[in-house]
Symmetry: C2
Subunit: 469 residues, 2 copies
């Protein structure tokens, strides 16, 4: 019979052997990268939050997510990204933007949406927006979005080929809408012209670049007539493409629809068969109860734009009611000219706070809910839930690290509460899309920020000069 101490000793040796085994013998699966975090938020259906977690990445995809010890015991990474003081989560999804409008931010504020649009923005756009404007403005937007932790965005603007080129170069993921609009625009003479160009754009970029999804962007029901809206849906269906559109944004739009069609915006769209294909409806401030059911039945993804809706006084979207009815709701910044930045953290925070005070119910849209809307539910709303929005094996590796050591994050009782009610863009340190590092230690790797700042200021100086009396 062995003495107790001998048995303990053997047992201890066995433990050490096993530990060595897991640390060395089995860490034989090479991966490109392991990203660690004090906490890893998967945003998967189990809402897993893993303390001292890690994500293994290869071929642009998530290979495994789990406790860092387990991941590092199994996988041998070429690059290991430390997670000390950091939280890892899926990259944020900006469901509605007009990226190049960064170049017009602050040009006109504190105005109604129609005065702002018709007297300032549309005229300035026709005058100044050309491919060079779109290139610089989109680069500036991508710089801002990457530095703030956004990895995917839905864009709607002019010269979409230029937008696609910038996205391709900077490494983000995007749905890019070619604008269809019944007025002279920066890239078309008429509705027919803009639709023809949109069809060409979608054809050109479909299945061309995995991070880019070309879609159609009919502007709204007050800038296109029914025939033009139907023609756009028909073209989208022929190409199996999604549509992104402004819908039920303001009382003005709903009144316009009532007067012209005798029904609200959403009902009008339904009546013309507009929802017979994937639709991303931005704003959606004024659906009535019947229309909320139409959205749910039609599988329409909605994008909540709280800052823009507040700034233009468009109204307060019935977000809890839509989600309750089964509508997937994402979050967007809208263009920087009505926001005036592209900060998704602010949208989450503001979006939650606005619903609480509006319903006088502090429990509404809790932090965890709004964080889902900015990640996996946002991916559902824009039709990319199989690709991005959560950290699960097989999905694209679109993720970020957020530093939690600056004053406002100290101390940390609840990671999710901090992400929604505290985190700022500047806390994001690392941004990875499709397994590729776009920002490391707050340094952007795919964009020349000095050059963009110079180009943007030069272009803005020209605009300022021409607009001054």
């Amino acid at each position: 019979m062995m003495s107790i101490s001998k048995a303990m000793c053997r047992s201890r040796l066995l433990q050490i052997f096993l530990a060595m085994g897991s640390a060395f013998a089995f860490a034989d699966t090479p991966v490109e990268m392991v990203v660690e975090g004090d906490y890893v938020l998967t945003m998967d259906s189990d809402h897993r939050v893993i303390a001292n977690g890690a994500v293994a990445i290869s071929d642009g995809k998530v290979v495994a997510v789990g406790p860092a010890d387990d991941i590092l015991a199994k996988y041998q990474p070429r690059e290991r990204v430390s997670g000390k003081g950091k939280v890892v989560l899926p990259g944020l999804i900006n469901g509605h933007a007009h990226s190049a409008m960064t170049l017009l931010r602050g040009i006109a504020d504190d105005l109604s949406i129609y005065e702002w649009l018709n007297e300032y923005i549309f005229p300035a756009e026709v005058r100044f927006v050309d491919p060079e404007f779109v290139r610089i403005g989109t680069q500036l937007a991508c710089w801002e979005m990457i530095r703030g932790g956004t990895t995917t965005f839905v864009d709607m603007y002019y010269h979409p080929d230029v937008i696609a080129e910038v996205v391709q170069e900077c490494g983000m993921r995007a749905l890019i809408s070619a604008t269809v609009i019944d007025q002279k625009s920066p890239d078309a003479e008429s509705a027919d012209d803009s639709l023809a160009k949109a069809i060409e754009f979608v054809r050109r970029w479909q299945n061309k670049a995995p991070r880019i999804t070309p879609i159609f962007g009919p502007h709204a029901n007050y800038t296109l007539n029914v025939e033009q809206l139907k023609a756009t849906r028909k073209a989208a269906q022929a190409l199996n493409a999604t549509i992104s559109i402004h819908m039920a944004e303001s009382p003005y739009e709903v009144e316009y629809s009532q007067e012209k069609y005798g029904t609200g915006s959403v009902s009008m769209f339904e009546s013309i068969g507009f929802f017979e294909g994937p639709t991303i409806a931005a704003h959606m401030v004024w659906p009535n109860d019947d229309e909320i059911r139409i959205l749910a039945a039609g599988n329409v993804g909605v994008v909540y734009n709280p800052t823009s809706n507040m700034k233009t006084a468009a109204g307060i979207a019935p977000i809890p009611e839509m989600r309750e009815a089964g509508v997937a709701v994402g979050i967007g910044t809208d263009g920087a000219a009505s926001n005036n930045d592209l900060d998704m953290w602010e949208e989450m925070r503001l979006g939650a706070l606005l619903q609480k005070v509006n319903a006088m119910d502090p429990e509404l849209l809790a932090a965890a809910e709004v964080l889902r809307m900015a990640t996996i539910e946002g991916a559902q709303a824009i039709g990319l839930a199989d690709v991005t929005g959560s950290l699960e094996p097989g999905k694209q590796a679109d993720l970020i690290q957020v530093d939690f050591t600056d004053a406002h994050h100290v101390p940390t009782y609840d990671v999710i509460s901090h992400l929604v009610y505290v985190t700022d863009e500047q806390d994001v340190t690392t941004v990875i899309v499709e397994g590729k590092m776009l920002m490391r230690d707050r340094v952007l790797l795919t964009l020349d920020t000095e050059q963009i700042r110079h180009d943007a200021e030069t272009l803005a100086a020209k605009i300022r000069k021409e607009l001054s009396p």
Copy 2:
């Protein structure tokens, strides 16, 4: 007769001589510091915004404000703070805070104010709040406020001597309220006890340290009875001290007042003579029209707390109506446990946006208005307008520099719009109070941030452990 070229030559020489004169011969007034900016916002009664401006500082005071060329022609600074890419403005004034509650941020969220207060905050405070808690929590709050550009704050918490010591050490300016409350609190056994201690505190700190103003902080009309409120006002009058109080914050409070006194909160306070001395009323969400007139007549300063009011679903304060009636309205963060940070930029932004959407009027509370509320009007609301809140000769030199070169500020058409709708705490690079540099190039000079982080995390770990089942 001189030839034209000779005359031109003489004239040119004269110009050069004069320029030399202004640059060298007259720059003979020594000052401690000149702070420059691409733009200097004075926030004075003329709303002056000076392009390529500068502020000369000596003996803790503003000596002169003007174009940088003029200032540097006249004053010889010991230290010259470059303003390239930066905007200079008065330091922000946080009109209502419970600083040490930074240590409880995120401990309970998405709850009604009374559930939050009675079931989580009050019990946690009685259990954990001691002088050490207050020291660390206030240090953490001062770190966060300085890094975000706040130079003055109105605090209301327990162990006010400790708060005063921290403020004294870190160099900020503060009105510090000793809490008076009719329940067992972290520093008193009863209302009488808390009032007696408050009187001692105010006596101890009056005229002791120029940056510190000791005041009385009766908690609210639902935590003190009429006799206790009257006794507090009497004590404040005897010492010529200001009172800071929560007032008309929530429907609950107004209903309570209606039931108990047959009248709304503000009317009840007026009926007991409470406004016969300087009063800072925080929140003020539910005054009726008559009560707004009472506030204006009583010279009551109001502090708007938009994030907290939204998060606790307290309601939307009638800010435009109060300002229209002549009430000075400042802005505050409230405690970090109901916010969950101390970010005054967010308060400005959110405060403006909330009023716009509430009234469905995008012109309401324009950017320039809300910036005044966070500076000079905030100073008026708390009775410090002669001391701080604008950059004018003779006032204390409380000012900040904000960097405008990061993505979200590019390009800049309108400085004030950017400050309100874009700027984040992390853009603040320089903070000066009473002419003394508290933060230079984002490095805090008067607080040991590593030590504070360590102390706060250690204390939070203890709290987390004791609270876990």
